[in-house]
Amino acid sequence: MTATSPLIDVERLTMRFGGLVAIDDVSFSAQPREITAIIGPNGAGKTTVFNCITGFYKPTVGRLTLRGDREYLLERMLGHEIGQQARVARTFQNIRLFPGMTVLENLLVAQHNKLMRASGMSVFGMLGLKRYQRAEAAAIEMARAWLERIGLVADADREAGELPYGAQRRLEIARAMCTEPRLLCLDEPAAGLNPRESAALNQLLVSIRDREGIGVLLIEHDMSVVMRISDHVVVLDYGRKIAEGPPADVRRDPAVIRAYLGTSEGSHDG
């Protein structure tokens, strides 16, 4: 299974905020064509790992290597370069769409860098050249394809902020996918969804893994989701990695059970 080299290597990642150690020496890898879930109790540092990978925080210590057309050292890149060059896309725990813009516009903004090049930094676009018009038509086509997959074609011209919650979640994933990422990081995508929406989401994630063939990193609380769709699970607790492996192994791991249920004395030994 690990014949190819991993998509991303997180090595000895440590993040301190003043005296607080949010992540302490965490290492793991994620493979392409796999869904890797990061789980752990509240405050375990899951979102902080995401923020380091996507450049919102600069890690105190550690190496983050992403393999694409070349090796990218994410810890040395600026926030927007990670999306633009290394092609890591993410969603947010508390959905961050562009609420005043339409659904379609949200998906076009995601294709900004490609379209900017096609519009010759706006010059060709201002002149109304064919080259830009073709690129824009292609971008709209891609957006339509994603809207079909998430079932929002009819809502394309509505403001994103008007959509129901579940649709906003799906739209945010589609928007991230429109950047054509190598690695997709999803921060609790199933939070607040009803069982039916949750099932549809699982299907979407599996189809992204299988059809686009990219790696997916997933922060999730809902263990049933994790067990059903993830290929690999990393368990964090108090900023440390306490277990890693296939879902079936992880759920039997005593350290994981202890972290989630607490020991009989009610104290952590980590």
Binding site: F17, T47, N51, F56, F92, R96
Partner: protein, 304 residues
């Protein structure tokens, strides 16, 4: 040396006034995260109420300077505080939860309104305030230059220190201070725990306005002349002081005020008085670019 000492004394006096205004900016920013652009105008109104108060004292025949100053101080603080309260109530409170630039635009509108309101009611010409306290004390002479500290300068510094000390006590020890700090940390949580958030915010504006009124009175006594436009420059300088010290931090505001006073006075004294305001604005820009959290402020960690 003598020239330097004299400049230092002048700078500390000016810095005290800026510091008092800066506290208003810093408190409001700390609690609701907005720049109260109209705060400079509150200061200006405080100066005008003081001016009118001093004239009334003259008409009533109150001859003793300390009594007159104390009376005017209290009246100016009380009536300027009403302005602080009313502005928050009318222009800012309805905007809580509106889009993020709304309160700032509203504040700019308020600032324009107040300036023109005073211009219309009091006229555009500069108003001489007369000399309420004169005389001073020669510290020493050197190089044929008398280093002099006026009684007025002493009053300004003493009043400022007393107010600062009592104010720090209020924030640290009283119920109001605790509620205010609670609102600063987390407004929703504070409300859930029974803190009256609206009242706390109102009180913040009231206290800030009262301190600005003191600054206005001291400014009037020190410079002897005011007009409807003094709030603009003084406001921006005090805001710069608040940012320099670290916006949200009370000691920072005082320290920032002092530094801005020093920069302004020494720039004017040693380089050119034409460009002293440019120097202050330059400092503002540099601080915001290189150390946006200021000297004593805590850096913000972005939550995503």
């Amino acid at each position: 040396m003598a020239y330097f000492s004299q400049q230092l004394i002048n700078a500390i006096t000016l810095g005290a006034v800026y510091g008092l205004i800066a506290i208003g900016y810093t408190m409001v920013y700390g609690i609701i995260g907005m720049i109260n652009f109209a705060h400079g105008e509150i200061f200006m109104i405080g100066a005008f109420i003081s001016l009118i108060g001093f004239i009334i004292c003259g008409l009533l025949g109150i001859g003793s300077a300390p009594v007159a100053i104390l009376l005017v101080l209290l009246v100016a603080m009380a009536f300027t505080a009403v302005y602080g309260w009313a502005i928050e109530r009318v222009a800012y409170r309805p905007l809580r939860g509106s889009f993020r630039l709304a309160p700032l635009i509203s504040a700019i509108g308020m600032s324009v309104t107040l300036q023109n309101y005073v211009q219309l009611t009091q006229g555009a010409r500069p108003k001489p305030g007369g000399q309420i306290v004169s005389g001073g004390y020669n510290l020493f002479s050197a190089d044929g230059f008398d280093v002099r500290v006026t009684w007025l300068q002493i009053i300004i510094v003493v009043v400022t220190i007393v107010l600062m000390a009592s104010f720090t006590w209020v924030i640290a020890r009283t119920q109001l201070g605790r509620q205010q700090r609670a609102c600063e940390q987390d407004m929703k949580m504070a409300a859930l725990l029974g803190v009256n958030v609206d009242r706390t915010i109102s009180l913040t504006f009231v206290v800030g306005a009262a301190l600005a009124a003191v600054a206005g009175m001291l400014f009037l006594m020190y410079y002897g002349v005011i007009d409807f436009f003094i709030g603009f420059l003084a406001g921006i300088k005090a805001f710069t002081a608040a940012v320099l010290g670290g916006i949200g931090s009370m000691p920072g505001a005082m320290l920032g005020g002092l530094l801005i006073g020093l920069i302004e006075v020494f720039w004017a004294g040693y380089f050119s008085s034409e460009y002293k305001d440019v120097a202050v604005f330059g400092i503002l820009v540099l601080v915001l670019i290189f150390r946006p959290s200021g000297l004593l402020g805590k850096p913000e960690i972005e939550k995503v």
